[in-house]
């Protein structure tokens, strides 16, 4: 279309004007788009990490801080609570609670947080294993996608953690190393940046933090004739208790048979350890398992096992209700806050509060961006008006050559739209570069993965808006050109 070519040539004939317009407009659109890119990713992360969790219970302090540390894994926790305090909630038959997941925080590897938790956390976030298997013994870990990508850890790799939440050599734990048994698929939620392990691993790491592996081996060799099985220095049972026959099938010594004779007389070739009839592992797994992770400390992998250690601590408990609208469930937080030394907070409420607090800041930025957009549209208007007045004779000439009034209107309007279209593309590029830069900063501070390579359909809408602004900015100059009286214009000398 010839008019398009003419419009384009007219624009680049005056490069300074063009530069001014597209820089201003590009900045405005760029800022607007940048805010959209950032806000959308931020909101997605907030929402996806809510993960349907209804309540978080932990140590008293700022509820927002507790939520941020336990669900978003930024900021420090408010403290710990004893297993005995949350005993009731760990009961799988609790009338109001569908699932409860304990979290123990405290260590990190290269600033990625190590979280002691059960496998229920994975189902909360719909995470799946990409390679390897879930951890079983202490010091075994499963790592998220971002952790694997960033640290280069692979299956079987070993590492040592450091205390706290920042990577600090001085606080490195000197203990037996962690080992990676599984790597999770990347799912775009906070679990990507976590290292998961047993709750008891966290206890053991802190209890044994001064001991070297050498001492551990000596413990292994020690004579068990003192009936000290868990290595805490005290006899676990009397000598007589030890020498009982097992004909009464009373294994835990409480006087009641634990199982029938038939159940006892199975060989272990079927590798069914928990007696439920299914093999627990393949025969190969028995041979040559690594004793480096062998510990004499407490072992807790599930909620039930946690209950064996009432004096041990966890950081928080994440809870899903059976029925969210149940009146008793809704009043549970208040009764916890008022009647116990713990606090309970609703993630949705706290996050909404956070959002409304930063909301006014966000709004101000949006107004600023809109203001820049308006100013740049005005600059395009002024450029067009000025150029139209300077080109009066040329425009009259087009009429003389046979061009109609509407063709002059179209010409000026197309010039305006070209300028805003170029401005949009400049802004588009700037916004994605800016987002990528911010993403780098956020990654190093908070480990969250934002990206500049995030494209949305909304951006096409922004292009459309830019073109409309082009039409509006050129309205007055275009109409003025169309209404020009050729006779008068040509007579002016």
């Amino acid at each position: 279309m010839k008019l398009l070519k003419l419009a384009w040539k007219n624009i680049i004939h005056n490069p300074l004007n063009l530069l001014l317009s597209i820089i201003l407009f590009g900045l405005g659109i760029g800022l607007i788009n940048f805010l959209i890119l950032f806000n959308t990713q931020l909101k997605n992360k907030f929402d996806s990490n809510l993960a349907g969790i209804d309540l978080v219970i932990g140590a008293k302090g700022s509820p927002l801080q507790m939520i941020l540390s336990s669900m978003y894994h930024v900021d420090a926790p408010t403290g710990n609570v004893k297993v005995s305090e949350v005993k009731a909630f760990l009961n799988p038959r609790h009338p109001l609670i569908k699932a409860a997941v304990p979290l123990s925080l405290g260590d990190n590897y290269k600033s990625y947080r190590i979280v002691g938790t059960t496998d229920s956390l994975m189902s909360f976030y719909n995470a799946t294993l990409q390679q390897g298997k879930f951890y079983n013994r202490d010091l075994e870990v499963v790592i998220g996608r971002a952790v694997a990508d960033d640290t280069g850890l692979k299956l079987g790799d070993k590492f040592k953690s450091s205390h706290g939440f920042n990577d600090d050599e001085d606080l490195a734990h000197d203990h037996a190393a962690f080992v990676v048994t599984g790597i999770l698929n990347g799912i775009g939620s906070v679990i990507d940046q976590l290292i998961l392990t047993n709750p008891s691993t966290v206890w053991n790491v802190h209890d044994h933090s001064d001991e070297s592996p050498m001492i551990m081996d000596e413990e292994e060799k020690e004579d068990h004739s003192d009936h000290d099985h868990d290595g805490d220095g005290k006899s676990d049972h009397t000598a007589e208790e030890h020498n009982h026959s097992h004909d009464d099938h009373d294994h835990d010594g409480d006087g009641k048979p634990d199982h029938t004779p038939e159940e006892h007389d199975h060989s272990h070739d079927d590798h069914d350890h928990d007696g439920d009839g299914h093999p627990d592992h393949a025969p190969e797994d028995h041979a040559g398992h690594d004793h480096a992770a062998h510990n004499h400390g407490p072992l807790a992998r599930t909620n039930a096992e946690l209950l064996n250690y009432p004096d041990k601590e966890i950081t928080t408990l994440l809870i899903k209700f059976r029925n969210r609208t149940n009146f008793q469930a809704l009043s549970m937080p208040r009764s916890i806050n008022e009647n116990t030394d713990m606090q309970a907070a609703s993630p949705a409420i706290e996050i909404n509060r956070l959002y409304s607090m930063i909301g006014s800041g966000r709004q101000m930025l949006q107004w600023l961006a809109a203001l820049i957009g308006i100013i740049s549209a005005i600059s395009i208007f002024i450029v067009l008006l000025k150029s139209m007045r300077e080109r009066k004779y040329e425009l009259a000439l087009i009429r003389v050559m046979g061009g109609s009034r509407s063709s002059l209107y179209s010409l000026i309007t197309i010039e305006g739209m070209i300028m805003t279209a170029i401005g949009f593309f400049v802004g588009f590029i700037l916004s994605h570069i800016g987002m990528e830069i911010l993403a780098g900063l956020l990654k190093s501070s908070y480990k969250y993965s934002f990206t500049g390579w995030y494209f949305m359909k909304k951006e096409w809408i922004l292009l459309g808006i830019s073109l409309v602004i082009g039409v509006i900015a050129s309205l007055i100059p275009a109409i003025s050109a169309a209404r020009m009286d050729i006779h008068e214009t040509l007579n002016e000398r």
């Binding site: 010839k2 003419l6 040329e394 000439l397 087009i398 050559m401 046979g402 040509l490 000398r493």
Partner: protein
């Protein structure tokens, strides 16, 4: 080919012109003389369809231009009339040949690059075809203006004071050029001027006088 009848024009501010009837056929030349203020440019603009009036008629090739509506008049002008102004204007962002092609585009005709090139050759400026207009001398610019005026094979070529700024030598050259191109295009040529030198060159003349500019 060109015929005006009882042509009058009244300005909103009151100036009123009553023009003599004009006839000019194809391959003929007409000189319209008069001093300033006598209505020369008004007449030229009327003849070129740049101005319209309800009083009288202007026929070109049998079509009364004053009866055409705006858009059709624009188109008609582009197709049938080539105008050369005293101060030559061009589309500064386009090259010489693109200026010619533009005139073909705006008149609704087909763009014919070969034809434009040959036109430039005819006027001895084909080496400037792809150059910007600013690189041309005044004389070369005038020739481009002439090329543009004849690019659409018009029925009528109008020239407004084409020689006023030129010396005697160039004056003769330009008139010869105009006549030659008009002849080749088969067009009528009407030159509006106050340059008395042309009286000796073009026999067919009309003089506008102040008596015609009568307030009524």
């Amino acid at each position: 080919m060109l015929k005006t009848t009882s042509l009058k024009y009244k300005y909103p501010k009151g100036e009123f012109f009553d023009f003599p009837d004009i006839i000019c056929n194809e391959r003929e030349q007409l000189l319209v003389l008069g001093s300033s203020g006598v209505g020369k440019s008004t007449l030229l603009h009327l003849l070129g369809g740049l101005l319209t009036t309800k009083h009288g008629s202007i026929e070109l090739g049998g079509q009364n231009m004053m009866k055409l509506n705006n858009k059709t008049l624009d188109q008609f002008r582009g197709d049938n009339i080539g105008i050369i102004f005293q101060k030559n204007h061009f589309i500064s962002s386009l090259s010489v040949i693109d200026n010619l092609l533009m005139s073909q585009y705006f008149s609704g005709g087909k763009e014919d690059e070969a034809k434009c090139k040959s036109l430039l050759t005819r006027l001895n400026i084909e080496d400037k075809a792809y150059k910007s207009i600013n690189t041309l001398s005044e004389g070369q610019k005038q020739r481009v203006a002439i090329a543009r005026a004849v690019a659409n094979n018009p029925k009528l070529i109008l020239a407004d004071e084409p020689t006023s700024a030129l010396d005697d030598e160039n004056c003769k050259e330009v008139i010869a050029l105009l006549e030659e191109q008009a002849e080749m295009a088969g067009a009528a040529l009407v030159i509006v001027t106050h340059d008395a030198r042309l009286k000796d060159i073009i026999p067919n003349q009309i003089t506008l006088s102040h008596q015609q500019a009568l307030a009524k």
